[in-house]
């Protein structure tokens, strides 16, 4: 199986400006979030890239991408994340594809690109692969989480048996236990998957059904019951730029992993020291 396509979702109305934000990257260059993501995808050797965007936002996104080869697909109605992926079905055209969410950035991981790793495994195993990360139970309400078993002989690979969207710790403990993790930790999605055409089929069917709309987690859970589905544990860190201070943390992480690390650290230390002195002085005055 060869992965040649990638789909980035940036469809949600409330986060429409997130991928357009500019950050200073590892090399000290100013780039938009979208641009950073596109470069990440290209590193994995994928050139056919589509970005799912809110209707009417193409001009802005094209400017942020700065790349004529990217295809923009409009999500005409705000019908959720799973629907956004499904909007790219014509683009993926029955082939497996790499999928990234537009509001996550990645840093760290000792130089191994998380995208490359996911694509590498998907190509080798020929199945859907999700990147996951051990996450504290207190953060479960932000992510989809998986349950499953380790693949013997491959320490970072898991055979997925169940996926739950934003589980409570109660559910997670019952349904998603994974051996070998720290207490109270679960494997949560990293915002990065390689999805096979089966996923599109499940989404297609799920979205056509009346009532509550299917989520990607539910589709993946169904997939897990049908065919091999793996998860790869990433050592890099994901940064949800949509969360409180998310953009700021992502910027810090990029900066501290790049060439301006020392300058940034010095600046931070100065800030901390200054803050402490001020507090101290105020404390003495009172």
């Amino acid at each position: 199986m060869k992965i040649q396509k990638a789909v980035i979702t940036a469809g949600a109305r409330w986060q429409r400006t997130l991928p357009l934000q500019s950050l200073i990257d590892r090399d000290g260059q100013e780039r938009t979030v979208l641009r950073i993501l596109l470069d990440e995808v290209r590193r994995a050797g994928i050139d056919e890239i589509a970005v799912v965007i809110p209707a009417g936002d193409e001009a802005e996104f094209a400017r942020a991408a700065g790349d004529r080869n990217v295809k923009f697909i409009e999500q005409r109605e705000p019908a959720g994340y799973a629907h956004a992926i499904h909007c790219a079905r014509a683009f993926t055209a029955g082939q497996p594809f790499l999928h990234l969410v537009g509001d996550h950035l990645y840093a760290g991981g000792n130089g191994v690109s998380p995208t490359e790793r996911v694509v590498e495994i998907a190509e080798a195993e020929g199945c859907t692969v999700s990147a996951v990360q051990a996450t504290r139970e207190t953060l479960l309400s932000h992510y989809g989480a998986i349950g499953g078993q380790r693949v013997t002989g491959k320490p970072d690979l898991y055979r997925v048996t169940k996926v739950l969207e934003k589980p409570t710790p109660t559910e997670a403990e019952q349904e998603l236990p994974i051996s070998g993790l720290r207490a109270g930790h679960y494997l949560c999605f990293f915002g990065m998957h390689v999805l096979t055409p089966s996923v599109m089929e499940i989404l297609e069917r799920g979205l056509a059904e009346p009532g509550e709309k299917i989520t990607l987690s539910a589709a993946l859970s169904e997939l897990a019951a049908r065919e091999q589905y793996l998860a790869v544990e990433q050592t890099a860190r994901r940064y949800d730029i949509g969360a409180k201070y998310g953009l700021f943390y992502a910027q810090l992480a990029l900066g501290l992993n790049g060439r301006d690390r020392n300058a940034l650290l010095a600046q931070l230390l100065e800030l901390v020291a200054l803050h402490n002195t001020e507090t101290h002085e105020i404390g003495q005055g009172a």
Partner: protein, 1108 residues
């Protein structure tokens, strides 16, 4: 290898199920002691929980029932104080060490065995309870709650459906959970006790039915789920808890309050919040404001309201109301926070199991505990609940054979047809008999007997398991008549073979009368839950069910009236209408503008709201009140709202209180209350001149154990003494005085019934009370001596009328002549305790430490009680209860003087001029009788008083025989300058006194002739009374309210005790050592089983003559 150890470890079930009693009985004493040593080594080394527990209970049984009967030298070897202290503090292993040191030095003894027995038993139950607790915590889905201890980590959030409202000024939607209660058609001999299910899963089987109820009170209400729990988000950052049926509501703003269970009546709601994870258990001790958690849960400035209602079911219904209420509240909380799959409707099976596991956790947190079938109301319809073997992956695997949580099989309509279900509904009359019950001791007895595999009980257990199959087959066949036969046979057969105390006179009278009136159309009796007397079922031919309901109501009322003096009742009996609930617990979301909480909630909360400034009320609250106003005009359920609000705002109870005070005054006047003395006691209490601490003798008092020769032991073999006694008996020189003036507060925990009339045991085929037993012994003495023995029963304001009536009704229990009642002449008015005394009792005195969680609950309760004492006024009169519960007898010192004052002694002497001796004893000293040898000793020693003492064992608290500053006398426990001293005294007072009438009169400076002079007698009594110390004591008194609810308050009273007569230098006192079976007293119902098993009951029966 040790024989007993191999019984425990055998893989062969036939060997493993062998009884320890049989094996122990065969062994020589030396071999038995060796076995004890082997068992003790074994439990310490074994890693298997149940092997350990079984070894511990074997050790308990050997020390409790076998070794004391061997020749160990019963009278040597004292229990060291250290061991007693360790035992009370639940430091069992240290207690064992300290006993072992004494045993090594002085050899085994009955006293040491008594302490070993208590320690091993305590250790066994602690080990079991610890395991259940560990298992509850290790149920998957519960772990995280013990990890998350900081609000910043808090992972739960309210579902969006509960936050959706039309506008900012509307109330949030209400999530309503409706839950049935459960009844068990059979529990296979209490096999639903966690320990049993975990050890013997194949024997743990219960047929359990979820039911809706309506109390029959004329109006025919439709049965509905009796339990409702409500949850909604509110616009205030508080946890608002309301229990409508208990009439309590509170706003909680700190974590500490959430974990303070006993400060109000909302403990169960708090336990639900914690067990559901809304406030995870690990947050106990978190110092942040609760607001920080609520913000994460429901949003800034918001909080949660949880309300519960139990419709008309009294406490003690044996329908597991509290467990199902807890489960209902946990379910609603878990639904609201997305911990269950379904927001509304019934729960999925996996969620039911989790709710049940959380309910067990909640019960433990609240310091209570039920069986594993109790949350049956969460499941629908009729189900078989069975123990499940622990398999790999279960937290119990390798620790116990069974899992903590059982498996539920809900019967389909194919298995049990619709018609069969209807037939059951058409035949069964469910009732609450009204008896107040404490089922705890029964559950402990069952566990102990089960783990010991006592042969008779083990057989009964197998029978009970068979009854379940039988009932199930009958149910499938729709044969309700056969079910009735089976459940009744179960009650009279296996259940009572395992625990005779599961039945009682009241229940058996009801069954007898039901059969008498309905004949063959009464198909059978059925005990619900742990014991009979509360929730019960009577199965009738459907054609006569209506009549059966009406008749049972009448029969219960009448029987209660006949027995209520003797048996503690918590409430008037009720009859229910019921229907099988086929849904289990279900929820609905009430999100309409007109949707309200139930009327009872507003009756409770609106009066409080009316007192707040409307401007300060959140807008949503105001909108809700508008809706309520509309509903009260338009909706039938809310139409009585205005009336009930008025009733609550202006309670009409003042009139009632006034009436009660008057009755109390009348009572005080009638029974010779001395207001002058009362005021002086109050003043002394307030000034600290008297109190618990002041009961003690000065620390400089020299207190030593007896010396050789102080106590007479070898009288039984002395033929000469026996002859002297026999002659005196034949000559009619002796009378018996049974002390029956007290209420026996430990027997009923302050329920205020007459202990003397309590039908506590079955003798010669019938339940008999204490007086009946003592009269039967006098009858035997009369027959043997050929002379009728006069029998005096002393009474008090509390006991006189009931005892007189009972004697009249039974023609003195067939004891035709010479039964005299000696009514009390002195009462006191109870006082609110002083903080000083409460602290002394709870902080200074050594007392039983409870298990960790119970201890916390007790601490919290005590803080609340101290608050109560302070608010109510220290040392002020205790009047907030039934008048009879506000007054108290003044101690048994007065019993003999009363006989002088009320003319009974004079009357007796007139009828029996030759009368010279009295044998006076406590009502609960069951083994006492007119032993000629003891009488002979008393006569031969020429003693004014001969006191019977027993060799002290670990349970014998409260003073003893001592040399006080060199003089031999009895000393009351309260008077000992330190608690340690008590354990240096070899002998314990039985309170049985042989009295020489003339010598006693002389001590009062009276003689027989002077008894005619009432004034002189009164002065004489007053003069001697002044020489007797008064002890201040704290007693528990029950206050009943609501539907079978009870609160227990400590109250202060004073008493004078007869033991202090032995301190009078002018009285020549002798002391005789008597065997334990003669001298022991039954203070608590929990002692009954041991008393039956160790042969004491048989001994007592051998002293009685039941021929009437």
């Amino acid at each position: 290898m040790s024989e007993l150890v191999s019984i425990i470890t055998s893989r062969d079930a036939a060997v493993r199920n062998r009884s320890v009693d049989k094996a122990a009985a065969r062994l020589e004493t030396a071999a038995l002691l060796k076995e004890c040593a082997a068992l003790d080594r074994f439990w310490r080394a074994s890693s298997n929980l149940y092997e350990r527990v079984r070894a511990l209970l074997f050790l308990y049984a050997i020390h409790r029932f076998h070794l004391p009967k061997r020749e160990l030298g019963e009278n040597s070897g004292r229990v060291p104080f250290k061991a007693v202290t360790h035992l009370l503090k639940r430091r069992y292993e240290e207690a064992l060490e300290s006993l072992a040191r004494v045993e090594k030095a002085s050899g085994p003894s009955a006293a040491l065995s008594s302490a070993y027995a208590a320690i091993y038993k305590g250790l066994a139950f602690k080990t079991l309870a610890d395991q259940v607790r560990r298992s509850v915590r290790s149920v998957r889905g519960n772990h995280w709650m013990s990890r998350i201890g900081h609000p910043d980590d808090y992972p739960l959030a309210i579902r969006p459906e509960l936050l959706a409202r039309a506008s900012e000024s509307d109330p949030f939607p209400i999530l309503k959970e409706s839950t049935p209660v459960r009844m068990d058609l059979t529990h296979s001999g209490w096999s639903d006790i966690f320990f049993l299910g975990m050890d013997y899963p194949e024997g743990a089987r219960v047929l359990n039915v979820s039911i809706d109820l309506a109390v029959r009170d004329g109006a025919s209400a439709k049965p509905q789920p009796p339990i409702e729990a409500y949850l909604r988000v509110i616009d205030e950052p508080v946890l608002r808890l309301t229990s409508v049926d208990l009439g309590a509501t509170t706003d909680i703003t700190t974590f500490a309050e959430v974990f303070d269970f006993a400060r109000d009546y909302l403990g169960l709601l708090k336990a639900a919040l914690i067990a559901s994870g809304i406030v995870p258990p690990a947050m106990e001790g978190a110092m942040q404001p609760l607001r920080t958690l609520l913000e994460k849960l429901a949003g800034p400035g918001r909080g949660i309201e949880l309300a519960s209602i139990v419709r008309n079911i009294p406490k003690g219904s044996r329908l597991a109301v509290s467990t199902n209420l807890l489960a209902s509240m946990i379910a609603v909380c878990m639904r609201a926070t997305r911990q269950t799959q379904a927001l509304t409707g019934p729960l999925a099976e996996s969620d039911r199991r989790l709710v049940a596991a959380r309910a067990i956790l909640g019960e433990w947190l609240g310091g209570s505990g039920g069986g594993w079938q109790d949350s049956g109301g969460v499941w629908p319809g009729i189900k078989l609940i069975e123990g499940a073997e622990a398999r790999e992956g279960d937290p119990e695997f390798g620790i116990s054979r069974g899992r903590l949580l059982p498996a539920h099989h809900v019967f389909s309509r194919e298995e049990i047809s619709h018609q069969a279900r209807e037939r059951l509904e058409a035949s069964l009359v469910l009732v609450h008999g009204g008896m107040a019950q404490d089922v705890g001791p029964i559950l402990e007895m069952v566990t102990e007997k089960y783990l010991l595999r006592s042969p008779q009980e083990w057989r009964a257990r197998q029978d009970a398991i068979q009854v379940l199959d039988e009932v199930l087959a009958d149910l499938k066949a729709g044969d309700v008549r056969a079910i009735g036969h089976a459940t009744e046979r179960n009650f009279f057969g296996p259940i009572q073979s395992i625990i005779p105390w599961a039945s009682n006179l009241y229940t058996e009278r009801l069954i007898e009368r039901a059969r008498g009136e309905m004949g063959a159309e009464f198909w059978g009796f059925w005990m619900l839950g742990g014991m009979a007397g509360g929730g019960m079922g009577f199965i009738f031919d459907p054609a006569r069910k209506r009549e059966g309901q009406e008749r049972m109501a009448a029969i219960m009322r009448e029987s209660k009236r006949q027995l209520e003096d003797a048996v503690p009742f918590a409430m008037e009996p009720v009859v229910y209408d019921f229907a099988i609930n086929e849904q289990g617990t279900t929820a609905e979301l009430l999100s309409g503008a007109a949707d309200l909480l139930p009327p009872g909630y507003y009756a409770l909360t609106v009066p409080l709201l009316l007192r707040t400034d409307p401007k300060l009320m959140p807008r949503a609250r105001r909108r809700e009140l508008d809706a309520l106003a509309t509903a009260s005009r338009t909706t039938e359920a809310y139409s009585g709202m205005v009336q009930s609000l008025f009733d609550r705002l202006l309670p009409s109870s003042e009139q009632k209180t006034g009436m009660q005070t008057q009755t109390l005054e009348a009572l005080l006047n009638e029974f010779g209350f001395d207001p002058v003395e009362h005021e002086s006691i109050r003043a002394d209490l307030q000034n600290g001149r008297i109190g618990l601490a002041q009961n003690r003798l000065p620390v400089t008092t020299r207190i030593e154990d007896v010396r050789p020769g102080d106590v007479h032991a070898a009288y039984t073999e002395n033929r000469a003494l026996r002859q002297i006694g026999e002659q005196a008996l034949a000559a009619g020189q002796v009378a018996v005085v049974s002390l029956a003036g007290g209420a026996g507060s430990r027997w009923t925990r302050g329920a205020g019934v007459v202990k003397a009339l309590n039908p506590f045991g079955r003798f010669n085929g019938r339940w008999r009370n204490f007086i009946e037993l003592h009269l039967a012994k006098s009858r035997r003495a009369s027959r043997q001596s050929g002379t009728v023995v006069p029998h005096v029963v002393t009474t008090s304001y509390l006991t006189h009328a009931p005892i007189a009536k009972w004697l009249a009704d039974t023609s003195n229990a067939g004891y035709q002549r010479l039964v005299l009642l000696s009514p009390g002449r002195s009462i006191g008015l109870r006082l609110i305790p002083t903080l000083r005394d409460l602290r002394f009792a709870w902080e200074e005195m050594t007392q039983q430490t409870l298990d960790e969680q119970k201890e916390k609950v007790r601490e919290s309760l005590r803080t609340a009680l101290m608050q109560w004492a302070q608010n109510a006024g220290e040392a002020s009169d205790y009047t907030d209860n039934l008048p009879l519960q506000c007054i108290h007898p003044t101690g048994h010192w007065y019993e003999i003087p009363n006989m002088l004052r009320n003319g009974v002694l004079r009357q007796l002497l007139a009828a029996r001029p030759q009368l010279r001796y009295l044998m006076m004893h406590n009502i609960d000293t069951t083994g006492v009788d007119l032993d000629p040898a003891l009488l002979g000793l008393h006569i031969e020693r020429n003693a004014a008083l001969t006191v019977e003492v027993i060799a002290r064992q670990v349970e014998d608290h409260g003073g003893g025989l001592a040399r006080v500053n060199g003089r031999l006398r009895l000393v009351e426990g309260m008077a000992l300058p330190s608690e340690e001293l008590e354990w240096s005294l070899s002998y314990y007072n039985t309170n049985t006194f042989w009295i020489d009438i003339d010598k006693l009169l002389a001590a009062f400076e009276l003689d027989r002739a002077a008894l005619a002079d009432a004034e002189r007698v009164r002065n004489a009594v007053r003069k001697l009374a002044a020489r007797m110390p008064s002890y201040i004591t704290l007693k528990d008194v029950k206050r009943r309210w609501g539907k079978g609810q009870e609160d227990i308050f400590p109250v202060t009273q004073f008493e004078k005790l007869f033991v202090d007569m032995t301190a009078l230098p002018e009285l020549n006192c002798a002391y005789a050592l008597v065997p334990r079976e003669r001298g022991q007293q039954l203070k608590e119902p929990a002692q009954l089983d041991g008393w039956l098993r160790d042969g004491s009951a048989e001994y007592v029966n051998s002293l009685a003559d039941w021929r009437e």
